[in-house]
């Protein structure tokens, strides 16, 4: 049965292999120059003796059109790969057999339908994981210099950190978990709906929902956050914004030397420990932030910051990958139950 599954899976496997080959050629051709620029930038050794920010800024500014563009293309690709796998490999896996009635041919050979599904599901899931894993391996390697440099800029834009929304799901091992989950999600939709196009639509929609909802509601709580308290000075208040509700502090200061931390929430408190409202300071009622910042710096304010430290990257990667793999296993169990006990037809 495994040989038949391989035969039926040839086209998909060839497509994935071709896509990976093209990517590998592009990355292998451009990688050496990128790494050369990184090595000569001095970022690798700057942390031992002080300030990395200027080096990082100059390195990032040197990334001309192609490197900057392909860095983001790579992130986009890795966000798409699991969704595409679920939609185009997972959903049609079973529905095709129903739509063409070939399940009647397959199920009346001398092989139980449990083994039939096991071979199809197992092979497909392995291929999905291998494809996503290789995509991630190639792009994680190539993007390494940029991933390291960007957080060191210490500017107000710290969304590109390895724990952030863009990089965490597109680096390391998480794509493997997503791919397995998306594939089995597609198969499950197929088993339930039995028609290819609706099953594909449902797969794409529900996986996109998971991809969006997960980092907002679930990932921050995979591990209990760490807390830090930082004194606010006129120099380190990183961002103020004027809005309908008055002026607010939009970012906490970056912890010294901890540029990659993922800040979940923060609260500004006064010396007595009470929540502090910026609009109680006269200097902050206008739109000129410089006097406001100076005034705030004299008030001995502190920020209580809840964050996931950058050092937890791999622990969180394993947690998240494990959860998605477990979800894939659960869905697969449902598929087996459904195929076996309900004996689908029509």
């Amino acid at each position: 049965m495994i040989r038949l599954s391989m035969l039926q899976f040839r086209t998909q496997a060839a497509t994935a292999a071709a896509a990976l080959a093209v990517l590998a050629v592009i990355l292998a051709a451009s990688g050496p120059h990128l790494f050369g620029m990184y090595d000569s930038s001095g970022i690798a050794t700057c942390q031992a003796h002080g300030d990395c920010a200027p080096l990082a800024i100059s390195f990032v500014n040197k990334l001309a059109g192609f490197y900057a563009a392909f860095y983001f293309i790579g992130i986009g690709l890795l966000l798409l790969v699991p969704a595409v796998i679920g939609t185009f490999w997972g959903a049609p896996l079973i529905t095709r057999e129903f739509e063409a009635s070939t399940f009647q041919l397959a199920w009346t050979q001398s092989v139980t339908r449990t083994r039939w599904l096991a071979a199809k599901l197992g092979l497909g899931a392995l291929a999905a994981m291998a494809t996503a894993g290789l995509f991630s391996l190639l792009l994680t390697w190539w993007s390494g210099p940029v991933d390291t440099a960007v957080p060191l800029e210490q500017g107000p834009n710290i969304t590109i950190i390895r724990l952030g929304y863009a990089l965490f799901p597109t680096r390391g091992i998480t794509p493997i978990g997503y791919a397995a989950f998306a594939f089995v999600l597609g198969v499950t939709a197929g088993v339930l709906i039995r028609r290819t196009v609706p099953a594909m639509a449902v797969t794409l929609g529900s996986f996109a929902f998971v991809q969006i909802a997960w980092p907002i509601w679930i990932r921050p709580h995979l591990l209990p956050p760490a807390h830090a308290i930082m004194a606010l000075t006129a120099a380190n208040i990183p961002g103020l914004a004027a809005g309908p509700g008055g002026t607010t502090i939009v970012n906490p200061p970056i912890l010294p030397g901890r540029a990659g931390d993922w800040v979940l929430s923060f609260q500004t408190i006064d010396p007595a420990g009470r929540p502090f409202n910026v609009n109680t300071v006269k200097a902050c009622l206008g739109t000129n932030f410089q006097p406001c910042q100076n005034a705030l710096g004299r008030l001995h304010l502190r920020d209580v910051i809840a964050y996931q430290p950058a050092s937890r990257f791999w622990v969180l990667q394993w947690y998240e990958t494990g959860i998605f793999l477990a979800a894939a296993v659960l869905l697969a169990g449902f598929c087996f139950w459904s195929i076996r006990s309900r004996r689908l037809s029509r």
Binding site: T102, Q109, T112, S345
Partner: protein
């Protein structure tokens, strides 16, 4: 006589409608059995239940003494050719033969290749581009080369032209004659079955209306025509299956194992088609009558 398919109170429901209900039958071993009935009689559902593609909603079914699709060993003993003979459209003929060899322990590769050769099929051709007749022959080859004890075919020739029909049935008969494989094939056309079946089961609305060896059935059914009279006055042992009257004449189809002595009847033999149609229309009349009683 042991049964290859035996059902008791068998039923299968799709959502609210029953495709088969309270079906009790026994299909004997070593025969070529024709399962005839009008569309919607439950033939396909019955055969899918027998192949283990469906699970019963109620009742029991045993095929070759086991639960259908109970395991690889049971599956290996039953060959199935589904309605409209589905194949993997994008796979060439040769891959279908490989598939058969991979998935069936008793696969007879020599026989499969010989049959494909005799049919003149190009092994490199994609199955999706085969004609209906060729596709049916390919699926029959897959089912035969598995060396089953029981071969089930669901309306295998329904969509074939007359020539392809004849060739398909001839090929089937040649193949099963050699090792006495039991065959069950369904059709709503009696003419398809006439040439090949030696046992007949007429199924109307899930009920077996008549079942038996074709030669015995033909010998015990007669068409009587004579002056008009009340069929109730026939001697005991003569069961009226179908009756029609004009002002002067009565035509009956009766079932009896006794010779017919009454000289006023002209007695003629019946064809299989007459017989099947008579049972089907009787079943329909029964139902109409029941519905009238209810309303």
């Amino acid at each position: 006589m042991s049964a290859v398919i035996e059902t008791r109170g068998l039923g299968r429901q799709y959502r609210r409608t029953w495709a088969l209900r309270d079906c009790t039958l026994a299909i004997p071993e070593g025969r070529v059995v024709g399962l005839v009935g009008p569309n919607g009689a439950g033939k396909t559902t019955l055969l899918r239940l027998a192949a283990g593609l469906l699970a019963p909603t109620c009742g029991t079914i045993s095929v070759l003494g086991e639960e259908p699709a109970a395991g690889p060993a049971q599956l290996a003993r039953v060959g199935f050719v589904a309605q409209d003979t589905p194949v993997y459209a994008r796979m060439p003929v040769s891959d279908h033969l490989r598939l058969g060899a991979w998935l069936n322990p008793a696969w007879d590769d020599e026989m499969a290749r010989r049959r494909i050769g005799q049919l003149g099929l190009d092994q490199r051709q994609r199955a999706g581009s085969l004609s209906g007749g060729e596709r049916a022959q390919l699926t029959l080859t897959l089912a035969l080369a598995k060396r089953p004890e029981l071969l089930i075919l669901d309306e295998p020739v329904a969509s074939l032209d007359p020539l392809a029909r004849r060739e398909f049935l001839r090929g089937l008969m040649e193949a099963v004659a050699e090792d006495g494989t039991s065959v069950v094939l369904s059709s709503h056309l009696v003419a398809d079955l006439e040439r090949v079946c030696d046992y007949l089961v007429v199924l109307v609305a899930s009920r077996v209306r008549v079942a038996g060896e074709v030669s015995a059935l033909l010998a015990s059914h007669h068409r009587l025509s004579g002056p008009r009279r009340d069929p109730g006055a026939l001697p005991a042992g003569q069961e009226v299956i179908e009756e029609s009257h004009t002002d002067k004449q009565t035509i009956l189809l009766v079932r009896t194992d006794e010779p017919i002595h009454d000289p006023s009847w002209t007695v003629r033999p019946v064809s299989m088609e007459d017989l099947v149609l008579a049972y089907m229309s009787r079943a329909r009349d029964d139902r109409t009558r029941r519905l009238e009683v209810v309303s």
